[in-house]
Amino acid sequence: MAAHFERTVAATDERAAFARLADRELDRAYRLAAVLLGDPVEAQDATHDAVVAAWRRSGSLHDPDRFEPWFTRILVNTCRDRLRRRRRHPAVEIDLAWDIGGARDAYADVDDRLALDRAFDSLSPDHRLVVVLRFYADLSIDEIAQRVGAPAGTVKSRLHHATRRLHAALVGEGDLDD
């Protein structure tokens, strides 16, 4: 029903249709960009760039039902471009405002954050993408492959490599329970 309605609107008002589709994705896109880039302000810029690019090319999107994976791909490419051009200088942040009662958990979280921030920053943009799409966006391998434009086997390989690096960071700086 919703899909039929979107197509009807698109036939009569292209702008309204695009605006509706983009608005529906805006929250998710911005939050995905922020997690990927680690900077909410830059995420706003990246999301804006993706919206502009998507609007320019929206005429070539023939199936509104495919808007989300299509727009996510544009956003992913925009973020990847930014990551490739960005010189990262990892900053170590220590959150001192923790609850005494939960001190042990809070310390572990801070410890994790420092270790994972460093490990994540050392990953290539392509590896960061698959980590975020898998562990934050909860996408399947095939869904990730569709959005990053790589075969499923390549996605699996990148995910395996990236996950090993992150796991190594956790084991290196956290408790060993095994």
Partner: protein
């Protein structure tokens, strides 16, 4: 710590990076992008989008099928034409009206834009990268008509709805070109001293690339190759299935210089002709 425990920590760490709800200003900006209403957020780019949208060329689609045969209409031409298209200006050097290309907003037709060491250094500084080394060879170019818009990624584009064409005008190194030229993203960079022939061969062998055509041409009087390819949707470009990319690889003595254009199949020939005119207008220092 088990693997699933570690994965759970990774999920928790990523969730902590989530800023939550999108700022209200972003929703307003979405309306601005789509409805061309002047506003404040990212006003420079938003205003440029509005101007670019107002300058859209109304083109009747001719049902023209872009030919990739390299020798039709003259070798190395983006489009088959009966006679070679003359460059829009015969002036070989920057004119008094020339200006520096800073990748910011609508471009003025007929003005010669320069892009060289100073511009690239400034752009790299803005993005936190060191200046290019060795120094790059500058060049200049002209856009023939209104409606061309420059973005911060050294690309210029023109929209003729429902299609759009993007031209990466300032790709200096393979890695830079890989960012802006979809076809190159998945390829390993060739050696720094690779010839245009070697770069063309590397592009041609990219997995999934179809309809490869390589031809000889010149850019700014220098020998070059132009590679035209068709990309499947699975390649991950922002365009739909069948995106066409034309990549000019110029032999300039040290490392090849790349310019690339991407467009949807069916993009009006008049727009593609403008891309060729821009390439034809290039003059190297």
């Amino acid at each position: 710590m088990t693997e699933s425990e570690m994965n759970a920590r990774i999920r928790r760490w990523l969730a902590a990076r989530d800023p939550g709800e999108v700022p209200a200003s972003m929703r307003d900006a979405l309306a601005e992008v789509v409805y061309d209403q002047p506003r404040s957020w990212r006003s420079g780019i938003a205003a440029a989008v509005a101007i670019a949208a107002a300058a859209v060329v109304v083109v009747t689609l001719l049902g023209y099928q872009l030919l990739v045969a390299p020798n039709v209409g003259g070798p190395g031409r983006l489009l088959p034409t009966a006679t070679p298209t003359a460059a829009p200006t015969a002036t070989p050097s920057p004119t008094p009206d020339g200006r520096s290309f800073d990748g910011n907003g609508p471009m003025i037709p007929g003005i010669r834009y320069t892009y060289g060491q100073a511009e690239l250094a400034e752009w790299r500084l803005r993005h936190g990268d060191p200046p290019p080394s060795p120094p790059v060879r500058g060049f200049s170019f002209v856009v023939p008509t209104a409606g061309w818009f420059a973005d911060q990624w050294q690309r210029i584009s023109k929209t003729a709805r429902p299609h759009a064409v993007e031209l990466s005008i300032a790709d200096y190194e393979w890695t830079e070109a890989g960012n802006a030229t979809c076809a190159l993203r998945s390829l390993d960079p060739p050696a720094a001293d690779a010839s245009s022939a070697e770069v063309a061969a590397a592009i041609s062998l990219g997995t999934g690339i179809k309809d490869v055509a390589v031809s000889e041409t010149t850019v700014g009087g220098l020998p070059a190759k132009v590679v035209r390819i068709t990309l499947p949707e699975a390649f991950g470009c922002d365009y739909q299935d069948g995106t066409v990319q034309a990549i000019w690889i110029v032999d300039q003595g040290d490392r090849p210089r790349l310019f690339s254009a991407g467009y949807d199949p069916g993009t009006a020939p008049v727009i593609l002709e403008e891309v060729q005119q821009i390439i034809d207008s290039i003059r190297f220092e």
